[in-house]
């Protein structure tokens, strides 16, 4: 108990800062992944000449382990493209890379899930294809795929602990650093693990609650 008080309470600032970095990197990664995923999804669905490339991109992102991608982005991209220049950027790029592949497929199934008649009706009332997508298909598709989108965010939060490997000062990194300072792994590592479980559990409970509510209202 004294150790808990001495180390964990006294380094609460450290843990909080770590949490903040975890939240930051996860939010940036999911936002970028959604943008890139939507773009790739459109290329895959509506741009015939580039379709193969889009499929290759999606399959690459989905079938390489996140840790391998992280190392690849961190060590190879600066040499190949001269970017990203910081560990933090490498972290969110890798997380976004992984998720954008999954999200592209989520978006596709969401868009394809909207009934065909909706699109035809919108086009025949004289809406342009862009307006149809913006005002008829996407609003319905978003509703269909909202639970999967949120689950992908959960996956990002879960894998974000890996960025500690490339020295991004997130929650896991702070936990490991405090452990090596105080050498009390039992308390510190258990507390770090507990924080992760609590956050991920709270998020997944919220997502489940929300998607049940959406399903009961619209299904």
């Amino acid at each position: 108990m004294r150790i808990l008080q001495r180390i964990i309470w006294n380094s609460r600032g450290e843990f909080l800062e770590g949490l903040l970095v975890t939240a930051q990197i996860s939010l940036i990664a999911i936002a970028v992944a959604m943008a890139v995923g939507l773009m790739i999804c459109f290329i895959r669905m509506y741009c015939r000449p580039l379709r193969c490339l889009a499929i290759l991109y999606i399959e690459f992102c989905r079938s390489t382990p996140i840790y391998v991608q992280l190392m690849w982005v961190n060590y190879v991209w600066p040499e190949l493209f001269g970017w990203p220049r910081s560990f933090f950027a490498a972290g969110w790029v890798a997380l976004a890379l992984q998720s954008s592949g999954y999200l592209a497929e989520t978006f596709r199934s969401g868009i394809e899930g909207v009934a065909r008649g909706q699109r035809e009706a919108a086009l025949s009332t004289g809406l342009s294809p862009f307006l149809t997508m913006r005002w008829v298909i996407l609003p319905q598709a978003v509703l269909l795929m909202a639970p999967s989108l949120m689950n992908q965010f959960l996956v990002v939060v879960k894998s974000s602990c890996l960025v500690s490997v490339i020295a991004v000062p997130d929650l896991m990194y702070r936990g490991l650093r405090l452990t090596s300072i105080w050498f009390e792994p039992i308390e510190i590592l258990s507390f770090t693990a507990f924080l992760y479980v609590a956050i991920v559990f709270a998020l997944s409970a919220a997502i489940k609650w929300y998607s049940d509510r959406v399903r009961s209202r619209y299904a």
Binding site: P65, V68, M71, L80
Partner: protein, 233 residues
């Protein structure tokens, strides 16, 4: 330095170390095999707990599944590698430590057993109640019903999903290099430190994983589509 910008020449470095890399890959598969056995066993056990008629057992099963589904694998890996050995040392008053292999198998097995619990549960719950009642009314015991009526149908239902779980388990075996199990990524990082040329090595590793996992998941997809076609007929 210039040679690195030509992909073919660069890839040759990865090829030069193929023996080491291949040995690392075998270690990956070895960990994967052991962790998969542990995951299926614990998953089945927790699933039976979740379906038990006693509320306290059901509660334990749910707690188990939620705990391991919600812990990031890397956090669990580090925790298992450092904390339980110390706790055991305190209890038995002797110095105990886990070999990296043992920690890796335990952590990855436990992490994915949480998912297997849910997959198994969904498979078993999908069996129509009438089948169970029919089996029981012909005089089969609970265990016999489970073995001969529920399990054969449930396995067919949950096989595609389980195969996907195995693929994600294989993907997460890359993490074991972080507790210095000499797997593919570990070898790659060691060679990188020696050669100071990360580009060909990490790209090679990414491509190797891409090819392996893409072909495995294509096989799984083909298999489960065949399964679905058979089920519909």
């Amino acid at each position: 330095m210039f040679a690195d910008s030509i992909p073919v020449v660069a890839a040759s470095l990865f090829w030069e170390y193929r023996a080491l890399v291949l040995r690392g890959l075998l270690v990956d598969f070895y960990i994967f095999g052991l962790a998969a056995v542990l995951a299926v066993a614990m998953g089945l056990f927790a699933c039976l707990l979740r379906l038990s008629s006693l509320r306290i057992l059901r509660w334990c099963g749910t707690f188990y599944a939620e705990l391991f589904r919600n812990t990031p694998e890397y956090v669990l890996l580090i925790w298992v590698h450092f904390v339980p050995p110390l706790l055991l040392s305190l209890i038995f008053n002797a110095k105990i430590s886990f070999s990296p292999y043992a920690s890796a198998v335990m952590a990855l097995g436990l992490a994915s057993s949480g998912y297997f619990t849910e997959t198994f549960r969904a498979g078993i719950l999908s069996i129509p109640r009438g089948h169970i009642e029919a089996a029981r009314s012909t005089g089969m015991s609970g265990a016999l019903t489970f073995r001969w009526v529920i399990l054969p149908q449930a396995i067919r239902k949950m096989l595609p999903e389980s195969l996907n779980q195995f693929i994600s388990l294989l993907k997460s075996t890359t993490l074991v290099s972080l507790i210095s199990v000499p797997d593919l990524m570990y070898q790659v990082s060691m060679i990188t430190q020696e050669q100071m040329r990360p580009m060909p090595l990490y790209s090679g590793a990414a491509i190797a994983y891409f090819v392996i996992i893409l072909s495995l998941s294509a096989l799984v997809r083909k298999f489960s589509e065949g399964r679905r076609a058979v089920g519909r007929a």
